[in-house]
Symmetry: C2
DNA sequence: GGATGTGAATGTCTTCACAGCT
DNA sequence: AGCTGTGAAGACATTCACATCC
């Protein structure tokens, strides 16, 4: 097991897991790096490198045994346990995420929903009471959330992230269109839809 | 102007644009690679490399003139013109995107909303009538959309993407949690929230 | 002096190609 | 024969460091 696994590798492992789970559901017994590569839009060498980072459990001449592979990938990705998630920003994005297929399926459980809008606080949101974000620290010491989803505007994102970090939460999924500064002990993934759109705009503007 | 600009570079350019626009709004005149690097979470050398790919328009000893930089970046990213967007899948994700600040601000205009659910077709969605996705080809020849946003489940995503490609649309923003196969002439960006969450899960599971 | 622009060095990720196991 | 596992090569991206210019 190497010191460090690249982000891009982890993303591919998640993809493989999805395909392998599907193959498992169809009752298949083994799957080859070639097949996984075709499904995941990569190459067989890449698949083998990715998987061999964590030990060799494929069978030469046959491929990877599917039940083993599912278990191994779920284990590597930390999906054998349940992660406790708070959503900060009771708006459309958080709602979309909460309804994402695979959110609860893959062990992500919403344990709290927060907002800073007095109009919203106290109301119900997809079955969860909306709490005041000012109480996050107090609640967190009791409920020990693992992940905070920031679904709020850019201008309050950094302050809220600081708040989240102080509450002892060590992972942030950031939908605010701005990078966040956090200590090394905290992991952030930013999903910036504006960047994706502008990437498409760039491609359209420059493509022959 | 080099043959090819990396995706990661384009993403950073989008970020820089956001910061420079903000600086412009505050009436600043120039901005240094150091300042941009701090805002964007990168290094000054990286900023200079990124910008110099498109010619040199910084002033040594001063930094980059902000109005020029805004214009140049908007031009590079293709944001001087309006892009016509269709949203396929009249659900929460599409709705969240449509309300994203900067969507219309940055020249992305929704020209059609589609679904395949007979219950939804004909209803109104954020002021747009929901149309039958079966009519996309016919509509597209008239309305010439540039970008299709796929906000639909994984199992129909590839077939819908094929449909979109046949309709002559050359850019896809894919929120379905699966990679898409499209011809080289079509650009796809996939936003897979499950992958981001699992990336956090991985980090939490492995961090000391 | 202060900040850019850029070749060279470094670091990281991907692809190749083939030995080795089943 | 078929397919994995993996060093070595190659491609790509980032960082360094310094000459260059305002």
């Amino acid at each position: 097991m190497p010191k460090h696994i690249a982000d891009s590798t982890v993303r591919r492992l998640s993809l493989y897991l999805r395909f392998v789970e599907e193959a498992l559901g169809r009752g298949l017994r083994t799957i080859s790096s070639d097949t996984l590569a075709a499904l995941g839009g990569t190459t067989s060498a890449q698949v083998r490198k990715d998987l061999s980072s964590f030990g060799s459990f494929g069978k030469r001449g046959l491929g990877y045994p599917i039940p083993d592979l599912v278990e191994r990938l779920r284990d590597i990705l930390g999906l054998e346990r349940e992660w406790r998630v708070v959503i900060i920003g009771a708006g459309r994005i958080g709602s979309a995420l909460a309804h994402y297929p695979g959110f609860s399926q893959h062990g992500f459980r919403i344990v709290g929903v927060y907002d800073n809008d007095a109009e919203k606080i106290g109301r119900s949101w997809d079955g969860h009471p909306i709490r005041d974000v000012a109480h996050l620290g107090r609640d967190a010491s009791r409920e020990k959330p693992d992940i905070a989803v920031l679904a709020i505007p850019a201008d309050t994102a950094q302050a809220t992230a600081d708040h989240v970090v102080r509450a002892g939460i060590r992972a942030i999924l950031n939908f605010a269109p701005t990078p966040l500064r956090v200590p090394d002990s905290v992991t952030v993934k930013t999903v910036n839809m504006a960047l994706e759109l502008e990437g498409l705009s760039y491609a359209l503007a420059h493509k022959r």
